[in-house]
């Protein structure tokens, strides 16, 4: 072997055969103290820390507020308006997901005005967008007695062909409510890849890659974090899409089990979705301290090796 001896001399090194004594338990620096702010929601008092949102306060009271564009791990963009509440003294309804609490606010979450607004938002969305893979929105529509058919034949407005330009994702923008979550997950809130943004204005606004190129020609790195946050199924794993097309997708026969990703040493939590003994998708919990719901291409898609059917590694 053509090797030269290496040369480090640890100076007075502790003997490795002797275990080191225990030190103090390390502590994180204390969090900045936040004063408590009291507000009233639907006549009930609640105190939350300064900087919390009306949504946080409502949650503390057990009030279930509908949301579409909101996710704990993303910065609020206030675009869907389905979470609006009535703030005493304010001219307009305010979005609960982003409006910070202020002392002595008085909020109504279920007034006639709030219900009408939420109903209209849901009707407008459902009359223009295909919400067939968004069960949560259907539950909201029942709650607010929404009838999108009042606005003409449903979903026709933004109907467009499904885009299948790679082996991992399917994009069906007929189902897109322009909630921006995918843009945020791809951008500063998580992935910082900036492969997608909203292009066009007004009615032409749509989620696009740079110059609307196909995904494989874009900056996309296939982390799937956009799919992870999509609330309507506009972005979907190809496995799920194919199974839905074949009529074999059956959520009632699926279970979810958490394990740890088999690749690098970061220790990402994988929630593995299985149906009939086959993996059909991988997600990650938003509240996991390592992932915050995000994964990379290997964690999200690199599980094919445990399946029995072979795949062409070059995707041909």
């Amino acid at each position: 072997m053509t090797q030269s001896p290496n040369n480090s001399q640890p100076l007075d090194a502790p003997r490795p055969t002797i275990p080191l004594p225990r030190g103090p338990v390390p502590q994180a620096p204390p969090e900045r103290e936040r004063r408590s702010i009291e507000i009233k929601i639907d006549g009930e008092s609640v105190a939350v820390a300064e900087g919390s949102t009306i949504l946080d306060a409502a949650k503390k009271l057990g009030i279930d507020t509908p949301t579409l564009c909101f996710l704990e791990s993303l910065s609020p963009v206030n675009v869907c308006r389905v979470c609006v509440v009535e703030l005493e003294g304010a001219r307009t309804l305010v979005p609960a997901c982003s409006r910070k609490v202020e002392p002595n606010m008085s909020i109504r979450t279920d007034s006639e005005r709030v219900r009408l607004s939420r109903r209209l938002v849901l009707e407008f969305l459902a009359s223009s967008v295909d919400l067939s893979t968004a069960p949560a929105v259907h539950a909201y529509m029942d709650r607010y007695d929404a009838h999108p058919e009042r606005f003409g034949s449903a979903r026709a407005t933004v109907a467009q062909p499904v885009i299948i330009d790679n082996e991992l994702y399917v994009r069906d923008y007929s189902k897109c409510v322009l909630c921006y979550k995918c843009v945020e997950a791809c951008g500063v809130d998580a992935q910082n890849t900036f492969a997608i943004a909203v292009a066009g204005r007004g009615f032409s606004a749509h989620i696009a890659t740079e110059f609307d190129v196909p995904l494989p020609d874009s900056a996309c790195v296939y982390c799937g974090n956009c799919i992870g946050v999509c609330p309507t199924g506009a972005l979907m794993f190809k496995v799920e899409y194919d199974m839905r097309q074949a009529g074999t997708w059956n959520e009632s026969r699926q279970t979810q089990t958490d394990t740890i990703c088999p690749y690098c040493g970061v220790g990402c939590d994988l929630t593995v979705h299985q149906q009939e003994g086959q993996i059909v998708g991988v997600t990650s919990p938003v509240d996991h301290s390592v992932t915050h719901g995000n994964l990379c291409i290997k964690g999200r898609f690199g599980w094919q090796f445990v399946q029995i059917q072979p795949v062409d590694p070059d995707g041909k």
């Binding site: 290496n6 055969t17 080191l20 030190g23 394990t259 690098c264 040493g265 003994g277 993996i279 590694p313």
Partner: protein, 518 residues
């Protein structure tokens, strides 16, 4: 201030890099030391593109500059370290000008990095295989540790030295004692008292001397001192440096057993192949991540017919060898080791579940685990021994460049693939391109090559034909190959098995090659 040294974490540890990006968004500075201008380096305030293997010169010059600029933490050095005077005298030779000569990095850039590292209230150094896949791997590591000791950027929240682990349980393997000189929980096998504790619990005699690491084993195969090998979940026929020699050594074994998910290149050489279940998806147990977090893995799907869990195979093997260990139960095995390994003592399955994993050490069930190590170095009076400075000298890579072999080849991973590709090449990645030798556009021009053109790549040990691709992340004289697709490009035909005797790692990162048109 974050110093990423010999790591392309953006691609190799993507979710760790999310956390790092949060730091950058919160105002942290990022410095990246890497021969390639990687996708990680593109986020840096400053990229230091050093020549492969010149890390010690760079680190020593940084140390000298920190001392000269008065940025050393004298109080910490006084209270918690030893050997500072010898270190100071040693690095005195490593002027910025000398380091510029040896590393190819402009002196001003080294100065800027030294000042940024030394003067930030919190700095940390993160590294991966760019530091450790060298013949002087351990020297590289202690050269970085010296910097942390010099500035006191260790044992405090937000500071530290952080090797980013490349495999989901490489930390756990070491913790469990799958290293030559340690029993479970890093307890030294040559300490009589510690060994006696295990002997009593297990009712067996344990050899009082350390064993061989991987490279020792391959040496021993050469000399006929090792004639039988049992390989679990490893593919050395593709992953060992100097593949030609590694295959010869594996071929000379009298008996080879391979336990794996797939019929790997190594399995093809085996006398017996034991088909095993996929640990992360088809087994129960724990793994330990890079941040020492022990977490539960669970059976998410059943293994295919005829395939068995690693534990079942090992238990059956023990039974055939005359030891009946009963029925394998991962939790019972875990509970057996907890009283033996103090750092795992408080980690019941229930607590691991409730707390979303626990970072060792966790001594008892009221202990929360520890988010960073070495906090003892800040206690006054000091608890335990002083942390030693080390004197390390720059030494160029073993496989030296000359007129015959003028190009430096380095190796690494790509975002969508993993090691020898046994697992990842089963999924269709849209990012995956045909493997190619990446060269700088300047070298492409110099050798009058077109992209995609096949060239002959030759090192002192082997030769292969590969298409070329131009990569502007590479500087002239530097080429790159991944290690993922040995069916397309057998990278390790070229690499050198110059081994660091302390760690057992080969110098995968530095091969001398030449490129010829075919």
């Amino acid at each position: 201030m974050i110093l990423l040294w010999g790591s392309n974490a953006r691609e190799t540890h993507p979710i760790f890099f999310h956390h790092l990006l949060k730091g950058i968004r919160n105002g942290a500075e990022l410095y990246v030391v890497d021969p390639r201008r990687t996708s990680s380096a593109q986020w840096a305030n400053l990229w230091l593109g050093l020549d492969v293997g010149s890390d010690i010169s760079l680190a020593n010059a940084m140390g000298r500059e920190i001392i000269v600029a008065g940025l050393a933490n004298e109080k910490f050095i006084q209270n918690a370290t030893s050997g500072f005077e010898a270190y100071k005298a040693h690095v005195e030779k490593y002027t910025l000008e000398r380091a510029e000569r040896e590393t190819g990095v402009p002196a001003e850039a080294i100065r800027r990095m030294a000042h940024a590292y030394g003067s930030a209230p919190r700095s940390q150094i993160c590294w991966t295989l760019g530091i450790t896949e060298h013949h002087d791997a351990v020297d590289n590591v202690v050269a970085l540790i010296n910097l942390a000791l010099l500035t006191g950027h260790v044992g405090r929240y937000g500071s530290g030295v952080n090797p980013l682990r490349g495999q989901n349980n490489v930390q756990g393997g070491g913790d469990m004692g799958a290293i030559p000189d340690r029993l479970t929980g890093f307890q030294h096998v040559e300490n009589d008292q510690l060994r006696a504790k295990f002997e009593q619990a297990w009712g067996v005699k344990i050899q009082p001397k350390r064993g061989w690491h991987l490279s020792d084993m391959f040496e021993a195969m050469e000399h006929g001192d090792l004639t039988m090998l049992y390989v679990l979940g490893e593919n050395p026929a593709d992953s060992e440096a100097d593949r030609h020699r590694a295959l010869k050594r594996l071929g000379g074994l009298e008996f080879l057993v391979v336990q794996d998910l797939f019929y790997t290149s190594t399995a093809e050489l085996a006398d017996v192949v034991l088909p095993a279940a996929a640990g992360a998806f088809e087994s129960e147990g724990t793994v330990t991540s890079s941040e020492r977090r022990v977490q539960r893995v669970r059976r998410t799907v059943p293994p295919p017919a005829g395939v068995r869990d690693d534990l079942e195979i090992i238990f059956d093997l023990a039974r055939r060898l005359g030891h009946d260990w009963g029925t394998p139960d991962p939790e019972a095995i875990w509970n057996e080791l907890r009283p033996l390994s103090p750092m795992h003592g408080g980690m019941s399955y229930r607590r691991l579940e409730e707390m979303g994993g626990i970072q060792w050490p966790c001594y008892d069930e009221s202990h929360p685990g520890e988010m960073f190590l070495h906090g003892r170095l800040w206690s006054e009076p000091l608890i335990g021994p002083r942390a030693p400075f080390s004197v390390v000298e720059f030494e160029p890579p073993v496989d030296q460049l000359d007129e015959q072999y003028p190009i430096r080849l380095t190796t690494g991973r790509r975002l969508d693939d993993y090691n020898t590709g046994v697992q990842t090449r089963k999924y269709a990645s849209p990012l995956r391109r045909k493997e190619a030798l990446d060269v700088s556009p300047e070298d492409g021009q110099f050798y009058k090559l077109r992209e995609g053109e096949k060239v002959r790549v030759t090192s002192r040990r082997g030769s292969l034909v590969a298409p070329v691709r131009f990569d502007s992340a590479l500087r002239p004289g530097l080429a790159f190959l991944s290690v993922h697709a040995h069916d397309q490009i057998a990278t390790n035909e070229l690499t050198i098995d110059a081994v660091d005797p302390k760690s057992g790692t080969s110098e995968f990162k530095a091969t001398a090659i030449r490129i010829e048109k075919v």
